[in-house]
Amino acid sequence: MITLTKVSKLFRTGKGSSDTIKAVNNVNVEINKGEIFGIIGYSGAGKSTLIRMLNGLETPTEGSVVVADKEISKIKGAKLRKARQEISMIFQHFNLLWSRTVQENISFPLEIAGVSKNERIKRVNELIKLVGLEGREKAYPSQLSGGQKQRVGIARALANNPKVLLCDEATSALDPQTTDSILELLVDINKRLGLTIVLITHEMHVIRKICHRVAVMENGQVVEQGPVLEVFKNPKEQMTKRFVQQVTEPEETKETMEHLLERYPAGKVIQLTFVGDHAESPLITKLVRNFELDVNIVQGKISQTRSGSYGTLFIHLDGNEDEMLRAIEFIKAQHVGVEVMTHA
């Protein structure tokens, strides 16, 4: 559905030939139809520029961008405008027209597409139901909450039955609860309408919750990409590890660790990493039954991704040294990651 080939974007920062910033650097990405694809990176990583090239709001300096069989990086004028009706976008700050009511805002892209008035009214009503805004049709954006505004944004984006939905930090201005409800809505329309969704974010939580695949961006480059669970299981790059930690490690892990190691000078504190099906196996029960050890659960967290769960668990083992080593071998044999914690 979307193919980015060797895409780069240079921004001039001054008059000299060397006064440029490479916002996007040689990016190759392939996004399949019906997929929810996440691009994660900190601000300045180039993800905003990248997503804007997908609907021609930015043009690449090099490389080609093909969306729904149209080479967005080459077409201009009326052709580009027509193509944009199939690639809609939602925004961090919603970007609604304050001078229009909810229904008039949703009607706007239909007016642009030249849909007749009767058709528009019908379509707007459908969309209002789809995003759950019944009863708020006549409200102005200033009378809505952030989550409701984003719902209007989504309804507006879906008005012309697009093939691709681009989400530019769509949940970053929302509180955690509202974020979840908007993410659920996105998953729902992805399933129901078979829409391809590309989203950029700096929150791993968003990737974990709804994405099938993820690309990690740093300094304009995609440093790692793959299925979400794969990336969670096996983060290769330092940047990816940091993002994965956002969701898998309980907060203040480091401080807690120091505290634990001081509190339990005897025995070992072990970090277990579970991925996929193994995350739900009764490992601890087996451990207690099969080994002469004291097992103490310290803390843990399991996160759900679209294709399975991922979790970390910290346990404290105490007993015979050999028994502990055998226990660790046993855990490894269960396809569970093991790391013995030491003082940092």
Binding site: A83, R84, M89, F91, N95, S99, F108, E111, I112, S142
Partner: protein, 222 residues
């Protein structure tokens, strides 16, 4: 009793002069509104980072607007006498004041329009583009409606300035309350006429301000 207090005031004259002032003001406000929006749009759209970005046109427009905004109105009328004669055929009467009024006020209003347009959230324009909107659609359905409160409050301020300009134009023969106050009030030393003319002008200004405020607050849904 009124006759004793205001011995030199002929109400027919006042009414006639008020009509002339209202005529000059309303025509020039209307013309200023449209010309100013047009100029303001060009200034905005040719500005940096906008749809018709063009440094040459923008600098030329900007210079013209600044020059006409800076010329004191009384001098502008005098400067425009040949142009007015060509256009209206005379330099006396209400119509003769119109070219100077419009040329004096439109650049002033154009700047206000430009400022109003610049205050529109860039994201909203980007959103319209991402939906495949043409520039004309963006102008009619985004730029003008989203800046309408600023455009209205701007034209309110400009209208009030124009009432003042009509009075100045009156001094050199354009008619209206300014003309009456100057010829009858000042030249013939009829202070009561000057007072009445002033009060009528104040009433006009207050009415314009109230209308402007009401419309602005009605339109503003932010």
């Amino acid at each position: 009793m009124l006759e004793e207090l205001l011995p030199n005031v002929y109400w027919e004259d006042i009414i006639e002069a008020t009509k002339e002032t209202l005529y000059m003001t309303s025509i020039s406000v209307l013309a200023t509104f449209f010309i100013g929006i047009l100029l303001g749009l060009v200034l905005f759209l040719t500005g940096k980072g906008n749809m018709w970005e063009n440094r040459v046109i923008n600098s030329i427009m900007s210079a013209i607007v600044n020059i006409f905004r800076s010329i004191p109105f009384l001098i502008l009328i005098v400067l425009l006498i040949p142009f007015t004669k060509l256009l209206v055929g005379s330099m006396i009467g209400e119509n003769a004041a119109l070219p100077a009024l419009i040329i004096g006020a439109a650049p002033f209003y154009a700047r206000m329009v430009e400022i109003g347009l610049r205050e529109i959230d860039k994201g909203v324009i980007e959103a319209a583009k991402s939906m495949g909107a043409k520039t004309s659609t963006i102008i009619w359905k985004v730029l003008l409606p989203e800046s309408m409160p600023a455009l209205i409050s701007g034209i309110t301020v400009t209208s009030i300035a124009l009432v003042g300009y009509t009075a100045m134009a009156g001094v050199i023969g354009a008619g209206g309350l300014g003309n009456l106050a100057y010829l009858d009030g000042y030249q013939r030393n009829h202070n009561d006429v000057t007072l009445v003319a002033t009060i009528v002008i104040l009433i006009i200004v207050f009415i314009i301000q109230i209308i402007g405020d009401v419309i602005t607050s009605k339109l503003d849904k932010r």
